[in-house]
């Protein structure tokens, strides 16, 4: 990840924040808007960051994973289901229920990624098709169980959605969160904090441990890795499952941290945007996080502009239309993928099954 690319990312985020600041200037002081934008950006980038980390683990080991979207959706549903079960059926208090939900979300991601690993590593199914299978399966199972359990007569919850245990409360980072004005940025919910920690952890694991070296060897040149005694199949399985846990946690963000309900297909393309963030970040944790923040900023802009809707000047009338702002992250992804902002190199053996 080169400095040029980080500069471009910083510039794009600055432009987006600047736009909102200049529009909202007459109502709020700039600093308040900037801090609010940054805080929202960091929060809404969480599922993208975790999704991108998921992709990094899989692809650094040589397995393409376009099933992150499905793993996220399944994690969101089963995490939410776990929390509700603990809370409503077993009468646990809200906080332990939510934590159980987080664990359920992570395990769901692991189970779905195990399926992806079996398909792509053991059965050598085309990995993009394997990922598509995961996506369709996740959409089908969550849609079916959602209707069967909550809306079907005679089901567990008697045909109605039970009261949810709410969302995970914010963590106040000591010292940092007591800074005036800027402190707001350091009041984040636990999965968001975990995602940021995981960016650093992934960087250390990938580039400074034996595990990371082996992972990269398996993804770049599996035959050479095999020759020196690394178990290629095992390394790939482990990394795909670790990646699945990240994708499941990203799903947990959607139903346990962002809002406290589940809707069919609520992952809404985040898994695919996360892949774009991974590619733009050139398969590095910090690069992917930075790219995820760009998408987060685009979403934060959309959210913040709703408050200032009446203040948007006629020259920027396009921004008044929520659909124009709504399609911007997708358009941005396509521009990034063309490589006009710099070429990227995937791991050499990415997507290729290993034949002994």
């Amino acid at each position: 990840m080169d400095w040029r690319r980080f500069t471009i990312i910083a510039l794009v985020i600055a432009i987006m924040i600047g736009t909102v600041v200049s529009i909202g200037l007459s109502q709020n002081p700039p600093l308040v808007i900037i801090v609010s934008m940054l805080a929202t950006t960091i929060a809404v980038a969480t599922p993208l960051t975790l999704g991108a980390l998921s992709g990094i683990y899989c692809e650094r080991a040589g397995v393409v994973n376009i099933g992150i979207e499905g793993m996220m959706l399944a994690g969101a549903f089963f995490g939410w289901l776990g929390a509700i079960y603990m809370n409503t059926v077993f009468h646990f208090p809200a906080m332990p229920s939510l934590l159980a939900g987080v664990i359920a979300a992570i395990l769901t991601g692991a189970v779905f990624s195990l399926l992806h690993a079996v398909l792509s590593i053991t059965f050598k199914v085309d990995q993009i098709i394997g990922g598509t299978v995961i996506n369709i399966l996740a959409a089908g199972i969550t849609g079916f169980l959602n209707r069967q359990m909550f809306f079907g007569a005679g089901s567990v919850f008697g045909g109605q959605v039970p009261h949810s245990p709410g969302v995970l409360p914010s963590i106040h980072v000591p010292i940092l969160s007591s800074i005036p004005v800027f402190g707001r940025m350091f009041e984040q919910q636990p999965i968001t904090v975990a995602a940021i920690i995981l960016v650093f952890v992934t960087h250390l694991v990938l580039f400074y441990t034996r595990w990371g070296l082996r992972t990269r060897a398996v993804g770049e040149h599996p035959r050479a890795a095999d020759t020196v005694g690394i178990n290629v199949i095992r390394m790939r399985y482990m990394n795909v499952i670790i990646g699945g846990c990240m994708a499941g946690l990203a799903g947990g963000y959607l139903t346990l941290e962002s809002i406290s309900s589940f809707e069919p297909l609520m992952s809404n393309g985040r898994g695919f945007i996360a892949l774009a963030a991974m590619i733009f970040g050139n398969w590095t944790p910090f690069g992917a996080w930075a790219a995820a923040l760009v998408f987060g900023a685009a979403q934060a802009m959309q959210i913040n502009l709703q408050f200032f809707r009446a203040l948007i000047p006629p020259q920027l009338a396009a921004l008044q239309n929520s659909y124009v702002v709504g399609l911007s992250p997708y358009l941005l992804t396509m521009i990034i993928l063309t490589g006009v902002i710099g070429r990227t190199t995937p791991p050499a053996a990415d997507g290729k099954p290993y034949e002994k």
């Binding site: 393409v64 993009i128 079907g152």
Partner: protein, 373 residues
Amino acid sequence: MQSAEEKGTTNRLRGVLDALLVPVLAIITALIVGGLIIWAVGGNAIAAYKALVQGAFGSPRALSETAVWSTPYIFAGLAVAFAFKGGLFNIGAEGQLALGAVAAALIGYALPVWLGIQLSPFIHIPLAVGMGILAGAIWAAIPGALKAYTGAHEVINTIMMNYIALNITSFLLNGPMKDPDPLNVVARTPPIALSARIPPIFPHLRVHWGFVLALLVAVFVWWILQKTTLGREIRTVGANPDAAKYAGINVKRMIIVTMAISGALAGLAGAIEVTALNYRHELGFSIGYGFDAIAIALLGKSNPFGVVLAAILFGAMRNGATRMQFVTQIPVDIISVIQALILLFVAADAIVRYIYRIRAPQDRVVLTRGWGG
């Protein structure tokens, strides 16, 4: 002793049976697993499947509805299968279909108003359908061109184009193209003119000539792929782009053409839904077609006739599911699970071969490649 000709026929027949074996076993296995899931949530799988079959084939009306459901599946399945033949993965059939529907609806209701005259159906229907085809083709050609000239992978780009299409469609159907009827509260276009409507085949049944057109288009796609130079070039690029380049084929142009034709077929699916069935476009009707189309193309092994069979199967399941939910209270969504399982067993044919102890075929078909190329 068999003559050489008889031997050839026998071999071909065996080839067809071999090709059908794995998909059929995949369907059976998926239905068994689906039945176990129904049983696990406390339903009666036998009763559910019985209602499903009755709902799909039990009466002339059921058959008509199965054909109605199958029509867009055939077009969209052909779209994905066509791209597969060219080595491309078009996950964007959904967006192409939606924009095809929007374009056909626009021509359908607005053209007579713009021109201020009554149009003959022989002019109006081809114009509306043609516009839908064009919209789909353009929408798919964009990721094709990006792939050809920048190497950006079509999988992510076609998905992004789906979301962009969804935003554009939402904008149009809530804004400039919204049905001005004072009673209307949903995002939909006004009804299309009578002159743009494709009639039903039989009175009192909804099955329309679009279904017949879908079957003809399947033959046409087979003809293009197998009997024309264009088809040969597309298949060569799909099988081995490097070899195609050395053979003097313009690979970049072929990628764009393949995506455009694929998108045209998806756009046709949307246009037919508007001109032959709904007589307007309403937001949200097209959700899920894109992924269903992928499953259909894979189940049909990218063969146009296989796609028709797979599309009719999926159409029958979707249609029968309504009755199944009504009779047995099993949610229609179980169909999505069964479809995903079918796809799983078709994609991982090694699982099916292992369960039923079938030998593996000699050659494997490569459908897609990783990010690199």
